[in-house]
Amino acid sequence: MIIVGEKINTSRRSIAAAVEKRDAAYITKIAREQAEVGAHYIDVNAGTFLEQEVECLCWLVETVQSEVGLPLCLDSPNPRALSEAMKRHEGEPMVNSISLEPERFQALLPVVTSQPCHVVALCMAETSMPTSVEERVQVGSELIRRLTDAGIPLEKIYVDPLVQPVSVDTRMGLATLGAIASIMNDFPGVNTICGLSNISYGLPERHLINRSFLALCLSYGLSAVILDPTDKQLMATLVTGEMLLNRDEYCENFIAAYQAGRISER
């Protein structure tokens, strides 16, 4: 399970404040904390800064990588921000994300083929949000085809089937889960990825809902996840889920996590 640590997002007040005053110490602290608990990629997102986004995102890339030796997940809907950030990134970044929306696809294809990288492929096309498993799989399959045709290896593609709130439509959980299973089945070797928090929008006890959804995603074959790795309960659910799905020989990881105090609530 590939973990992308989501905390460095300027939609969080403390991160926005740190970026505003260029507080490198704080940003690297948050990056390091996530690295220490098992993140494979550190997500960086400065979307709330609007016109300053490009500058801020580049600063985040340089700041995090000056202290933490992990690849970053460059998170923005702005192609220029992604391309500028990529130039400053050492090693292979994950680019979050490309979709089938025509303008976005056209602007980003050259970016993701300009240098080696991993690509998050979001199952959104031009007309509207997908509402079913079928629509997601259709868009996802098309994205995989176009990206592999452009030379990106299947293993570097992370299909994000889009997570929508169950509060609005109680079929949304299964819509994502079904899409994950279909894509993993139809394209052996591809990755799937998603964030969790959309699923619980509009309901109370969001942490409980999110970590339960994580366990379900695991069982449907999700191979990568964007989450807060410093959320102890969430990570406990992750390691427990993997064990329950026969992905933890002799329950080694679970027991190690337990002995390191990463499982107990107390």
Partner: protein, 212 residues
């Protein structure tokens, strides 16, 4: 009026069967249709909005109550055409160009309809030109815009400019919202107001129009 209490309860609970039955019997009993709407349906949705703001009701219940009210409105519709019902105002709503997110926008639209506004929902990916076109057509009181991506927010500014160019800006109130949108941004682009969620959107809309 005891019919209306039962109707109010049914709408709050989201019980379509009871609510539509109560609405029909109120209509059949000759009750004033504006009263059924104002004192019954709108009052119920007002209560739903209050409970939502207090964290006593959540999005699914809000949706259920709004849909219940919509079913009751269908029974009152014949009276709308005859011009016997007054609406609180006309609102054009849409998600801006380049943006396909509609969940929040739909919630706002439902709650505003529940409050007695007449909604014209243009859907998603709505260009400044389409907002202006519709505004010219129906002369709304409010133009409401939603955006969920920071990259599509600039379209809000462009739409306001387009309204200005079409000499419509002073004739409407502009309201904006969406996850990346802030009060500060609303001030920057000189929107008339900002609302953080569907519940407060109704309150703010009434405020800027000076109605209750």
């Amino acid at each position: 009026m005891s019919d209306l209490k039962a109707l109010i309860e049914a709408v709050i609970k989201g019980d379509v069967k009871s609510a539509t039955a109560d609405t029909q019997s109120a209509v059949d009993g000759g009750q004033n249709v504006q009263d059924i709407l104002d004192v019954g349906l709108i009052a119920a949705m007002d209560e739903v909005g209050k409970r939502f703001s207090k964290g006593q009701m959540f999005v699914p219940q809000m949706l259920r109550s709004a849909r219940t009210m919509q079913e009751c409105m269908k029974l009152l519709e014949p009276f709308f055409q005859e011009g016997t019902i007054t609406s609180k105002g006309k609102v054009i709503i849409g998600t801006v160009k380049g943006d396909l997110h509609d969940i929040g926008k739909n919630l706002v639209s439902m709650m505003m309809e529940g409050a007695g506004f007449t909604m014209f929902d243009l859907g998603v990916d709505v260009s400044p030109e389409r907002f202006v076109q519709k505004a010219q057509e129906i002369e709304p009181d409010i133009v409401a815009m939603s955006a969920l991506l920071s990259t599509t927010m600039p379209s809000m500014r462009l739409t306001i400019e387009a309204l200005e160019q079409a000499s419509l800006r002073s004739k409407v109130k502009v309201m904006i919202g969406g996850a990346p949108v802030t009060r500060k941004y609303a001030q920057e682009i000189e929107a008339d107001c900002y609302a953080p969620d569907a519940g407060s959107a109704v309150t703010r809309a009434k405020e800027i129009l000076g109605i209750s």
